[in-house]
Amino acid sequence: MQVIYSDALVIGGGLAGLRAAIGMKRRGHDPIVLSLVPPKRSHSAAAQGGMQASLGNTIKGEGDNEDVHFQDTVRGSDWGADQDVARMFVNTAPKAIRELAAWGVPWGRVRGGDHESVIDGKKVTLTEKKEAHGLIAARNFGGTQKWRTCYVSDGTGHSMLYTMSNQAIAENIPVVERAEAISLIHDGERCHGAIVRCLITGELTAYVAKATCIATGGFGRIYRTSTNAVINEGIGAAIALETGIAKLGNMEAVQFHPTGIFPAGILVTEGCRGDGGLLLDNKEHRFMPDYEPEKKELASRDVVSRCMETHIARGNGVQSRFGEHLWLDIRLLGKKHIEGKLREVKEICEYFLGVDPIKQLIPVRPAQHYSMGGVRTDYTGQSPTLKGLFSAGESACWDMHGFNRLGGNSVAETAVAGMIVGETMSEYLESDAGDIKVSTALVKDFLTKQEKELAGYANSKGNRNPFHVIREMQETMSKDVAIFRSEDRLNAAIEKLTELQRQVADIKVNSSAKGANPELMAAYRAPKMLKLALCVAQGALQRTESRGAHFREDYPLRDDANWLNRTLASWKEGDELPSLEYEQLDVKTMEYPPAWRGYGAKEWKEHPETAARQAEVDAVKEKLSDRFAIQNELMPYEHKLPELLRSRNERLGEKEGQ
């Protein structure tokens, strides 16, 4: 039995995992990072649009600060977010972006003086302040009051990930590439690391660690049409679920992005709309103002995606051999802008569609994009039920996104959560809780179990192709657990998914090739992905309301009276379905009580305590004038942040307290 010991095992080499590892290393611990692929190829590299941080340097970002970012984030979440966490996040985001700037990210910078821009379909001239020249610039993104999304052309994720990964190399952090965690080692109360399969040799190794962090990104590949990388299969979240003790939060909250290019599903960034691009229908009519007069193309993603699908359903889609789609028009932004700030978009259009977006329209239709749900953690990033297990980034339900994440808030989350979790894991390692007493017998049990399971596929009596099981699951999810949901469709989906789950026993792996063995990989991933799919479908069926990205045709209103809560899913070994329970959000302690989002449906069922809490909030705002004092009176959170991250953020021209 091969066993490797370390202080901390970080499963995932994307932005979140790498940043957490750097934090621990800097505090004197020795983390090991695992990744399915070289870390620079992680999905974080695909983020084009940008990262939100309230620097307020540009003229359209003037007056921005943590309070405004907080409001946008909570509103964007449709009040599903954990407001403490959202506060911790907005305070740390400017630090994260400045740290990345110091490490080498070539953020787009403000150019003092006049420049041309397109707002609401019209060309305008903006005048940037001279004092801001050379500071980090920002662009417009959906669902925000200020221009807050900082960017590196449209290669933001690429630049961030390369910088982060180079920094991890500089700090001498070992990264085991082409390694897959396939099971967590635990004793029912505490996590002790993971069983890891080498994707080059096929060998299994036990990685025993005092603390383990799941930073494996999203699980978009349970859907057929997804903007996600093909490695985003959610195995990290699934192995947490399979412990039977750790829980997954809000799995039904799945985001669809309005502008997946059609039919491939490859994303073109929200920056296209942020920078002034328009959505058109088959008559080249700009339809968003008809549905959403306030925010138009820049309402939040769930709203725009639903408007698009509704518009298509009403017969306004463009017909094509692959089905119907709409158009994205960025021609009005001009050649210089497209070839500079949207070059990645131009390349994608040329290579995958043969379309030149400077002169032609881009065919688009919403595609699965982001997993708001994931491993449920508390504000420190630790699982409340399985000690020693942490999670950060898209794989986590740390819960700053609630039921809908705003564009640009995700890469910001990865860096911020990485910073916070790197600190809280260090604190854990330095405390008594970090001491480890794991028996080798336990480790061996977990290893043997995996060996048996893998061998089982070769000896199976059935003849089911694992790739086909996965494809049928993906098709079911895309058809019936997508943008519009209803009881009938969800029941049908669950029936199909459970049937597929039974067929897992018939999966046969024909090849006994040594090494990577892609057939075997599909075989052991299929049942794990099916469990995630069932958590999504079952969560969606039970939640009889519409909130954020979760939309029920049969229950179109947001129902705060009954559903202001978070879904927790756990899986008992041998069960066919997940067990669901609900964690209430407390209106009485909210800094920002539920209200209308400013776009989308104007009605909702109010929580009985909302009005009273709103009155308290108003009274405090009446009494105090310093924004920090108001905040602290309403919902103190600073003590929850690791010490390193508690200080205030400096801003151009901002005086204390304003």
């Binding site: 692929v37 400045r98 070539p106 953020w107 050379g134 094509s320 692959f322 090494g515 892609p518």
Partner: protein, 250 residues
């Protein structure tokens, strides 16, 4: 405004013939050979779609690497009819009906079309120290250092490299000596050398680049520049660093 998805070869669907390099170095008995698969071409078919179809329906054992399948991550470089390319954004309609696929040369073979570029790149990165060297302590609570907007764009121009390995596969020197840092390495140091946040001076870069493993190993065949899928100005960067290193020497 006529705007349709390109749809060549729709009426007469072609049969595509793929000759795929097969070898499993983990298996002592495995000898390299080319295996042939036939599939029907579909609209907007990329090599990603074609290979996935081969694996799902014809042969589940074929090894290859895709991650983003959108031309962003650099995972899928391979030799397509002898030329290094990103397979995910290579459309079959631009290829003849018979296509030969082989792994990138210059890297350790994992199996079939899959090579270990990650290991190579990490070594390169450790050797050249491809990160910002800055003695000042970072303080993330205060307003960031200013940078000229043009400078930021200039840095990003060079940072767009996706470490796909096409330049190494296309490089005469890299095929002959495996310690050559290649265009990918030289370009990355060029990126750090123009970054005002990096304290290193030319003498420091000279230590790692002023050798035959560095710029002086380059035979100026410029395969790298021709083959870079991101169209990075590699020839220009090599010439630039070489001039700099030649000066640093005296």
């Amino acid at each position: 405004m006529s705007n349709t998805i390109p749809a060549k070869n729709v009426e007469v669907a072609r049969k595509l013939k793929f000759n795929i390099y097969r070898h499993n170095p983990k298996d002592e008995n495995s000898k390299p050979f080319f295996q042939t698969y036939e599939i029907d071409e579909a609209d907007s078919m990329t090599l990603f779609i074609a290979l996935s179809e081969i694996r799902e329906n014809l042969d589940p054992t074929v090894q290859f690497d895709f991650v983003c399948r959108a031309g962003i991550c650099g995972s899928c470089a391979m030799l397509v009819n002898g030329r290094p390319k990103l397979a995910c954004r290579t459309l079959t309609k631009d290829l003849p009906s018979e296509v030969t696929l082989a792994p990138l040369p210059g890297f350790e073979l994992i199996g079939d079309l899959s090579v270990n570029t990650g290991k190579w790149m990490r070594n390169m990165s450790e050797h050249l120290e491809t990160w910002i060297h800055n003695k000042e302590k970072e303080n993330f609570n205060v307003i960031e250092e200013r940078m000229d907007p043009d400078k930021a764009e200039e840095i990003y121009e060079l940072e767009r490299c996706v470490e796909c390995g096409c330049c190494i596969a296309a490089c005469g020197t890299a095929q002959m000596r495996n310690d050559f840092v290649g265009a990918v390495g030289i370009n990355q140091l060029a990126r750090f050398s123009i970054d005002p946040r990096d304290d290193r001076d030319d003498a420091k870069f000279y230590e790692v680049l002023g050798t035959d493993e560095g710029v002086f190993g380059c035979m100026t065949l410029l395969g790298c520049d021709d083959m870079c899928p991101k169209e990075l100005p590699l020839a220009q960067q090599i010439a630039y660093m070489r001039r700099k290193m030649a000066k640093a020497e005296v």
